[in-house]
Amino acid sequence: MKKNGARILLDALLNNGVDMVFGYPGGANLTLYDEIHKQTEIKHILTCHEQASTHAAEGYSRSTNKLGVVFLTSGPGATNGVTGIADAMLDSTPLLIITSQVPTYVIGSDAFQEADVIGITKPITKHNYLIKDINKLYDTINEAIFIATSGRKGPVLVDIPKDVHAQVVEDFIPKKLKIRNSYSIKTEIKTEEMMPGIELIVNAKKPIFYCGGGISASSQKTIENLYKLVKLTKFPITTTLMGLGVYPESEDESLHMLGMHGSYEANMAMHDADLLIAIGVRFDDRVTGKLEKFSPNSKKIHIDIDPSELNKNVKVDVSINGDCGIAIEKILELLNGKFLQDLSPWWQQIDIWRKVKCFKYKQDDKSVILPQFALDRLYELTKSKNPYFTTDVGQHQMWAAQYCKTLKSKHFITSAGLGTMGYGVPAAIGVQFANPNDLTICITGEGSFMMNIQELATLKRYKIPVKIVMLNNNYLGMVRQWQDAFYEGRHTEVDFTDICPDFIKLCDSFDIKAKIVENPSYLDDGINEMLEENKPYLLIIKTKRDENVFPMIAPGAGHREMLLGQEI
């Protein structure tokens, strides 16, 4: 059958179950957008900036475990998307980015809107391709999707020149997927590999599970098996920011998040543990603190699908390379009938740490809202609806992680590795498109919100009911907190009082409802009013200006050296 390159691309996407793409048209991908016009199977979502397309695709992917697909044009289109691609790389999010390139015969001539996209994106993609031969297009797209969604997931970029999009193949016959030999993923874990770990688990008196994004990215069955495993062993479990929700935080075994702004009990338990079972994590510096002081007396088991993560930052005693879903299943199987140690002294110790109540706060003042109180109320008033939370980056992100308890996996979507301000609103758009019947709440601050503020227009166009809750303290709060803590309070370029626009008028021009809440006694009414609206809504909560995020581990300190804030 006669087909052009753009149509072959859409065929390959359809064949892989893609039904929604995010993107932005331009000169080099006109043919592709013409083909989109002619069909109805793939829905295209237009954002107002390429960065937002990539973030929206990330939100779509991370809330569903499906592949996120982005169409960008050449040159500036692709370079605008770079932040989102790097973000997906660090958070191991499966994305397929189709950038268009100037025609093959002008590549390298500094043509209009030409950029070396392959060169620019090499270090921030799992793999990338430039397609100059239309006969390789279909196979390459199939391979790219396989690479993006298998093993440790990640972004894969395919750069297609304009003339390849337009070139016509007279008799196109799709072939079956054949993966190159050099790309192999370990699909099996042998019992012998697991046994040293099982021995450690059986003998552990002070064990702890340390779980992360690897489990979030895994299947629902893995989440269920992890639940069974924790209930069987009664070991405490702490998760990273990426792993929030893999184990319901309402359960007794959950010690909440660990790390720099994690809970006191989780960090103390990590320090004192005699066995660390790390699954799908990468011992990030925000989690470990100073490496020499990180869990000094424990044996460590590390399970990860990516062999380069094993023994990278922290040397472990048992390293198991493989899919965490298979590993958890194996552990369940091998622990069957085995007796574990008595953990009651360990739980008594944990209960002592818990009594510190590191997240407590005092909303005494009747005139100003504490951010902790605002998010606490937001969580309480929405928890029955199991909302998807997306966040931007800064103080509000950490407060959201601390107070909006996540009960289900894939329900807390945040830019963890790269820490991209401006992630929240576009990610929420992606989440809402993937889950049209669920409540999606973006928690943001005024600094992050204004980084991708143009996406209000996307909300206006598609009328999707994304709820945005902005904690407004007219500061770049996290930077201000660090300037106070480590730079003797010299505030440089963090005061946003003169920068912030009139958000109500702004939203009015986008036909989006907005409301400001300044008084604690009106907070619940404001949140309820937002929830009743079946349209996009911006709730601006004016919060205490100089509130800091606690508890905190200062950079370079160990888990035992937590700062708990003044009031505690």
Partner: protein, 83 residues
């Protein structure tokens, strides 16, 4: 620092050499010698050999990171001498 020889077998895709070199450059290590050539008549498989100095505790990670580059089939690192 350790003087090492690194031998890489790879599918002969365009851009593999750039990725390999960038892996060292991004970590602040410079390559001392570099040799690349096709291994078969169709020129579908290539070999790359590199000599450089690396910290001993980074060797395993660099090997894994090289293997992560999709077209790379095999990596072997030989330790020459300690510097």
């Amino acid at each position: 620092m350790q003087q090492v020889e690194i031998y890489i077998i790879s599918d002969n895709d365009e851009g593999v050499l750039v990725k390999v070199c960038n892996l060292f450059a991004a970590r602040g290590f410079s390559i001392e010698t570099l040799h690349a050539q096709p291994l078969n008549q169709d020129k579908t498989i290539s070999s790359i050999s590199i000599t450089t100095s690396l910290p001993f505790d980074k060797l395993q990670n660099i090997k894994e990171k090289l293997l992560q580059i999709v077209p790379i089939i095999d990596v072997k690192i030989f330790i020459q001498s300690e510097i």
